[in-house]
Symmetry: C2
Subunit: 231 residues, 2 copies
DNA sequence: GAGTGGTCTAGACCACCAA
DNA sequence: TGGTGGTCTAGACCACTCC
């Protein structure tokens, strides 16, 4: 019967406050939705919305019948925005350009074929692209495309970057992304104009559409790149 | 009047299918909620739930009065789980341990003080910890803690890792996370038992609770570390 | 079996903002 | 200023799962 928060965001804030204040300690069950709705003087659906949101953020754990508990190990969930490279460069106020270094049908390396679940011997389109910000190397992209799963005809990838074409011509269904750090090889260092061994921030992505493998790509970012998240 | 999907997830799937099929092209407006509800034979709230979810995923853009459009530049939003280090190591089936290398009050470097918004001259608790997986260096943690914002008494950080203690004793309110790649310094390479210059995956996090700065931490991961996301 | 969260409905009011 | 999404309500049924 305390002060009555207005709206589901206010309820979420109040629940968070109680958790912070340790009124409800980690591992402990909190009142059920019906009771909270009565206390806050709102409909159960409103409480549900607030608690669902906190559960999605990893703050609460909910199970039917078992009720709602304060998460013991609040797995921090962070959401990243992964923009198209052009947008990323332009958002920094720099001019974007790119150079297609290579475009040819080839046999992908085994790890790539495995990751995409392709039969050995399948040939893919291999694209290597250097993306530039204000004319300086920004990102080296090494991409394998599965033409069998793409709408035809394919464009001229020297004129439009593969990423932008895919975004508008292939529906994104699912994929996975991994981030890691690697020392630049001789070849990659040369491409990016860096000393050999420079630490590179590497993004690897593979994408499927309707269970068909579309593309596997490795992005090696020049030093200074930071993937940033506001939580 | 097509086949009637059941439930908001089915509606989300159907909308996604139409976007993938380019029935609704990028940049194009889709019917409003009321019309879709009529078509699908469900309540508007159900359509709303589905479209809100797609908007949160970056697939749709919604504005009052302007309606709902297929996103032109589908900013990929990836959600990362960032577990406590102990859980992360144990999830690999390895045994977790850690060694406190340093614990002392000290003046933080300027960038740390700035990031936390502290007055120059504020002294913080400086902790350096080596986390081990199966006895091998896994992660070097360099942490600055603001005792003024923490519940007293502070624990023995040689017995419980700062991360685990914070998780259960300080409510998480907000913070930001950044990822980058760095070449290991001599000192850090020695601590991690690596050659100098090895590429390290670095996570930097700062955390506030109720507008009070709690902690700034830099985590340097040994090679092989990958931050992985299923989308 | 029974309690809990998950979802749906039909209707309503409101905030926002492009026309 | 009217159309659109955002939200809330009161009630209902269902799915899951702990006891």
């Amino acid at each position: 019967m305390s002060g009555q928060p207005k709206g589901w965001e206010a309820i979420r804030a109040e629940v968070l406050r109680r958790i912070r204040a340790r009124d409800w300690a980690p591992g402990e069950a909190i009142p059920n939705e019906a009771d909270l709705a009565a206390e806050f003087g709102c409909a159960r659906a409103t409480v549900n919305r607030a608690l669902r949101d906190l559960a999605a953020a990893g703050v609460l754990e909910r199970r039917r019948k078992a009720g709602t508990r304060v998460a013991l190990h609040p797995v921090r969930k962070a959401t990243l925005d992964i923009p198209v490279t052009r947008a990323e460069v332009e958002a920094r106020g720099q001019s974007y350009s790119f150079r297609l270094l290579q475009s040819e049908m080839a046999l992908p390396p085994v790890p790539v074929a495995l990751k995409l679940g392709l039969a050995p011997g399948s040939r893919l389109l291999h694209l290597r692209t250097l993306h530039l910000a204000d004319g300086k190397p920004f990102l080296h992209e090494d991409r394998w495309l599965n033409p069998a799963a793409l709408p035809q005809p394919l464009p001229d990838f020297a004129a439009i970057s593969a990423n932008e074409w895919l975004v508008t011509h292939v529906a994104y269904t699912s994929g996975d992304i991994a981030f890691s750090a690697e020392n630049a090889s001789d070849a990659e260092a040369a491409i990016l104009g860096l000393p050999k061994g420079t630490a590179l921030f590497v993004t690897e992505r593979s994408t499927w559409s309707e269970a068909q493998p579309i593309t596997a790509v490795r992005l090696a970012h020049a030093p200074g790149y930071r993937l940033h998240t506001l939580v």
